[in-house]
Subunit: 347 residues, 2 copies
DNA sequence: TTTTAGCACTCAAAGAGCTAGAGTGCTAAC
DNA sequence: GTTAGCACTCTAGCTCTTTGAGTGCTAAAA
């Protein structure tokens, strides 16, 4: 894998990939020599190509066609050849201003960013709502709605608001509610969300029982809801620019199109896709994605972090033949933007 | 338009439409005679077809092909021929139970219903969030988040919760906030949302100024937000089953596919599409839609009404060659379900 | 008068054959 | 080690033909 590779081979590989990204066609030695003026001939290129193919970086659709990059080829490109091409597309500030003006709710920000990103790169964009496990609760409130319904409101340190309606089986008096509210507020405010787990909850339950002597059932219910609202696995996914997929020649046959559009409808799948990553910025090329139907796709995902501690993901889904440099910078930029915008609106 | 049409012609037209819906192919006299055993011959059918074509109910893609229904043909079918075919697909109760269990937020309900409907009919489903203008405010609360930020919470009589973060330019003391809260709550609780307009707002502003002597600016800001949150034109649109479009043979060429998928991404467009209807249940066939790109599509939309007074829309988007009876009953059913579920969770 | 059988005609879709052109790999010369 | 030259390969696109479902018209039958 870590074979040595001559600079000339690198040059050829890079040119092939760039050309293929541009045209979506197999590229041949002739065209390559014509477009890029190398100081060696098509014949030499052919030899290098044969080598590169043997090394696994290129593939040949059929004997008399040009070469196309393999997943491995793209991988090498992204890891080693792309460097110089990266650029910050434009200044953050311009976008920041424009976006932070009208938008305010998390939802609007998320969908706005997804839209912006997809427009920018001309591929499908995906944004996941921030998870809260690393942020703190800065405020917690229970409002009665009707005799059996409460509205639980939790504001996190990153300035995001969550609410959820809670159905109770037993009626609560005003006093009981006030008590409950006070206890929960005292115990939970300022607490890091990831620490609200088993032992702590048990302790909380004890206290509630002691101080309010409710039925354990009700308390349990409440706790479920609280933990549910907080470390919800169910972070919402925002997609935009799905139709850009149609522009890609590799998806010009309905079958493959159908396959990938179907995947984009399965939210859980996307969540897994985007969540299961370790690095700050990750590029998954072709078959590196575990999802069968996405073997022809690449995924570029970055992590954004909010001041208060929440984290989420932004990404782009496109064909393996993707303009990696441009996409990577844009995704990066967007992640940064999201942090900035939410943090500023959270002030 | 209100031409008389013989029962035999009706029979033929109905058979053609049903056959075409099934096969997506032009239908000829021969096949028709074979499949449906009429008591008249293909030749007669041909004559009737020629008549029906002249009347505008049928079209011929080219001279030597069979006939396909025109928009007018479908219209006639939906208005006059379809009757007997309508059926309630299944009992409401089963769905109701299943759905109302875990789902609780409006968002979840809406997206859940969109998903269910699209699965049921195998076309794209669209659901719009309920508008509030006809319901009342049952509770209103302002919570401080930070020195310059308030959380405005409005609960409507239909049991739906809305919240919005409000940025203030001036700091508020606790007392001022309490005052503000009390006044707003007193003046707005129980009020029908559509009546919160110009004169009433002016009056409210006067009172606020008198009682709190804030800068008019701040008050204005607050009012904007309140009215914004309430009669927001920006009702969210939930789409599901977009990929079902790909199953339709009429969209097997990428161009038309692209056109319609692009439309489905423009939320404002969809909002208009779904909102601009007068009747409780409306069927828009082909060119009856004003949207250019949807000339090959039909739209079936029903209105749902919540107990407290909100209304929204549910619909299905599919090819003109749509299984109208099944779709209409399903859309109807779904509208009913939505009312029931939200009303029951709103109790 | 209405319906039907028969027939000549039409047209798209599918298959067969052909050509052009871009590309390759190999060999031999530089 | 590099390159020019050449024979060979394979697809995409073109035309040509065939096939078959379908029509409209006419004349006979009901």
């Amino acid at each position: 894998m870590v074979e040595e590779i001559s600079t000339r081979k690198e040059k050829v590989l890079k040119a092939i990939i760039q050309e293929h990204i541009l045209t979506a066609e197999p590229v041949g030695s002739r065209t390559l020599a014509r477009k890029y003026d190398f100081d060696f001939s098509p014949a030499t290129i052919r030899n290098e190509m044969a080598d590169l193919e043997e090394m696994g970086f290129l593939e040949q659709p059929h004997t008399s066609a040009g070469r196309i990059p393999s997943d491995l080829g793209y991988r090498f490109y992204v890891d080693r050849l792309m460097e110089g091409e990266l650029e910050k597309p434009v200044s953050l500030k311009r976008y920041l201003k424009e976006l932070s003006r009208q938008k305010s709710g998390v939802e609007d920000i998320m969908s706005g960013m997804a839209r912006m990103l997809s427009r920018m790169v001309q591929y499908t964009a995906i944004v996941s709502e921030p998870g809260f496990s690393e942020s703190k609760i800065s405020r917690l409130e229970l409002l009665p709605i009707s005799s059996r319904k409460l509205l639980l409101i939790v504001i996190t340190s990153s300035g995001l608001v969550n609410d959820k309606i809670i159905q109770l089986e037993k009626k609560l008096t005003e006093e009981e509610l006030e008590n409950l509210n006070r206890i929960l507020s005292r115990r939970l405010t300022g607490r890091k969300i990831s620490t609200i787990t088993g032992p702590f909850l048990q302790d909380l339950e004890e206290e509630l029982k002691r101080r309010l002597n409710y039925a354990a059932e009700i308390i349990k219910r409440l706790e479920d809801e609280i933990t549910g609202i907080l470390d919800k696995q169910e972070m919402k996914i925002y997609l935009d620019g799905t139709s850009y997929i149609l522009e890609q020649p590799e998806f010009s046959d309905i079958q493959s199109l159908k396959r990938i559009l179907k995947v984009l409808e399965r939210e859980e799948e996307l969540r897994k896709l985007v969540a299961g990553l370790e690095n700050e910025l990750e590029v998954k090329i072709g078959a590196e994605n575990k999802i069968q139907e996405m073997q022809n796709c690449s995924l570029v995902v970055a992590t954004y972090r909010l001041q208060g501690g929440g984290t989420g993901r932004v990404g782009v889904i496109g064909p393996t033949r993707m303009e990696y440099p441009r996409v990577i910078s844009s995704v990066d930029l967007t992640a940064e933007l999201i942090s900035k915008i939410i943090s500023s609106s959270g002030r």
